[in-house]
Symmetry: D3
Subunit: 158 residues, 6 copies
């Protein structure tokens, strides 16, 4: 399966050998959103200011989710994550919540899966906390916007 490095020449899945790759400083940024009605969004943003804190909890879930990446994604290497930060902002035009995750490591392979898992976990956590008032929310736009620090060079998309 030429090009798919997670399979050997016989098509068998393996965790790719990165033993000989240098330890370099790496960063990845991913983003995504959860779309809801303006009424549901208002419940979250009001709550945030006054009482409960949906976004604060989703942020923590995203950080902890990043640390579980290698346990969730079968062929991911365990990596010594050195930073995780999530930004969650209400976007009235969506309407919904936009989430960005930034992950860093000093390791032998990239952290885009950690950033994507952080975003996914945070969006799922928002869904869980709000589903009592709206069930037809939709999660989307999950993608890598920046990856840098490895052999393959800088990848960036607007």
């Amino acid at each position: 399966m030429s090009g798919l490095s997670h399979f050997d020449q016989d098509g068998k899945a393996h965790m790719v050998d990165v033993s000989d790759k240098p330890v370099t400083a790496r960063i990845a940024v991913a983003e995504g959103f959860i779309r809801m009605t303006a009424e549901t969004l208002a419940l979250i943003t009001e709550g945030r200011a006054e009482k409960g804190d949906v976004l604060g909890i989703a942020r923590i879930a995203g950080i902890m989710g990043a640390k579980k990446t290698a346990a969730l994604i079968p062929l991911c290497h365990p990596l010594p994550i050195t930073k995780v930060a999530l930004d969650l902002t209400a976007d009235p035009a969506l309407p919904g919540i936009r989430i960005t995750a930034t992950v860093k490591t000093g390791g032998q392979t990239g952290v885009e899966m950690e950033a994507l898992t952080a975003v996914s976990t945070a969006t799922l956590t928002v869904y869980d906390m709000v589903k009592a008032v709206q069930k037809d929310m939709e999660i989307g736009g999950i993608r890598v916007t920046l990856k840098d620090g490895g052999k393959s060079g800088r990848f960036e998309q607007p």
Copy 2:
């Protein structure tokens, strides 16, 4: 925070008390997709037929992900899952992979978070295995299409 049951009257997050809810048969179905180029999709579908098996591995990751839901989502109840099945199909019109997850339980609360987590984990796993050939794939359309069996009645969206 009226309506958001994951917060008490003081706005503090808690795992909702479901002690007095009856144990009933429950089902949830969720779906989502990962969009890629036609060339990347061809690598997956050819590989599936001949050698490696991206979709088979993503299916297993989704099933195992469903079992990790209560560990990932802070306020989710641990539930005795009785069935998890994932359907992954190549959609040349997307182009990309469409994923549907069906989860059942006999429990005191619903399994839509388990179904959503299964779909999310499977899409992330596809991304991981294919990212060597395409980095700008996008995950989206993650939503609940069916939920049934609890007090709140049947929820369905096309």
Copy 3:
């Protein structure tokens, strides 16, 4: 080792057989504290009102910790937890934070270990978030204040 039910008649540790115990509604409450200087406490309580939220994060960590009890404590039975709630309050007289956790289940054995684990995890999380400003904080007073619902009857201490 008469009286210690976690050991059989030969002194070998086992997970006690609860197969024949009835499924009953059970509750346990545990408490504990983390002591710090008045200055450190002020950082937490001010932060809570304005910006960061040490107590909100510790609450989430406590809830998630309760779900990890059977993985942490070797001879604990896995239990279908039906409720977890934590109360964290600043006590200027301590000075520090007092934490109470309430856990419920419908199961065959009690949830006092889940309540204690929730309190322990929450106190450790407070320590972690505040340790940059004070290292000699002390965690203590961790004990069960209520246990009810099983064969051994109601246990309560003030």
Copy 4:
């Protein structure tokens, strides 16, 4: 929230960026106790000599708990632990068990949370194994007694 490094300038929690900190040899020591009646303590110490081994099991739980620190404490960095040792001794004057945990790493941040988690898990495990004979035991005195190897220098308290 000046001084609390786990929050950024806007008060949002994050896993602190340690990418640029050097990898140094680090050590932390923490301690704690569980207080019980002299009769309960006697059951443990007799058992240890003859048959069951409460302290041996609590030691193993503490070592395994140290390895779960990053999964339990939301903002903790995963660290390559290079040593964990626990000392559990019966103290008739308490009466109860005193526990000390020593953890080492070669990493970019300290291991005091690992040492504290080891002590906490060990005390909870003792509670679990002895609770059939005494429910009003109390866990306390959990604190860091030594931390060395990082930028902030040596911290020690008697």
Copy 5:
């Protein structure tokens, strides 16, 4: 794939639907061994009596391993285990350690995987603790000797 219930009619793996199976009392017993030299065995048995406790630690690892079964084996259902006990005995004729694990549940599917996982984890733990003195030990004879309580009736082999 007729007969292999873990695959649907199209050959896709799934977690089998057990929703309609009754909750019954179930038991499974599994066994296995780790073979070593008589000299290595002597180190373990002497240690057990006097100082360290290889078998006691392997027993705890086996009990904790049983609780991790659903996380390790992709298509296993999570089950409310109600009992786990391991018996580890030195067999000078092997020479080595023989291990038997008994697991019970009140659930909708059997616990033979939990019993097998307990035995496997215990044998691996013995290997780990003794490997400094002998590397060519061998683990074998892992099989189910009793399974009872479900629809398929009693299975027993000597």
Copy 6:
């Protein structure tokens, strides 16, 4: 307990201090088998070619199992695994499946436990998926065949 490095001079178990060991490239290979009837083996090998994929799923389980080694084996150090590959082949002469796992790390201690855990998990996964048609399968022959890269030199057995 002379020779057993997992115990200190008082016989207490600890996670051995490897702080001062150099980080070197390390490799370990382990093997094992699961024996079944020729009829059962035929179900697996036919299925593999046509529809389901028992061996592909067992391979993924083995890779993920390797990453859980430090959580399963009490005194194992967490290690940054840099490669995991499993080879599963049908052996009509056994009859059954033979499994080999290769694990690499750049760390301070060896990865033979990771390789053994990968093999064990893969054999258990095969058992799970085939147990509906045969219950008296046997797992055996689990041993290390190669270990290299550390202070103790190269170990190899045919």
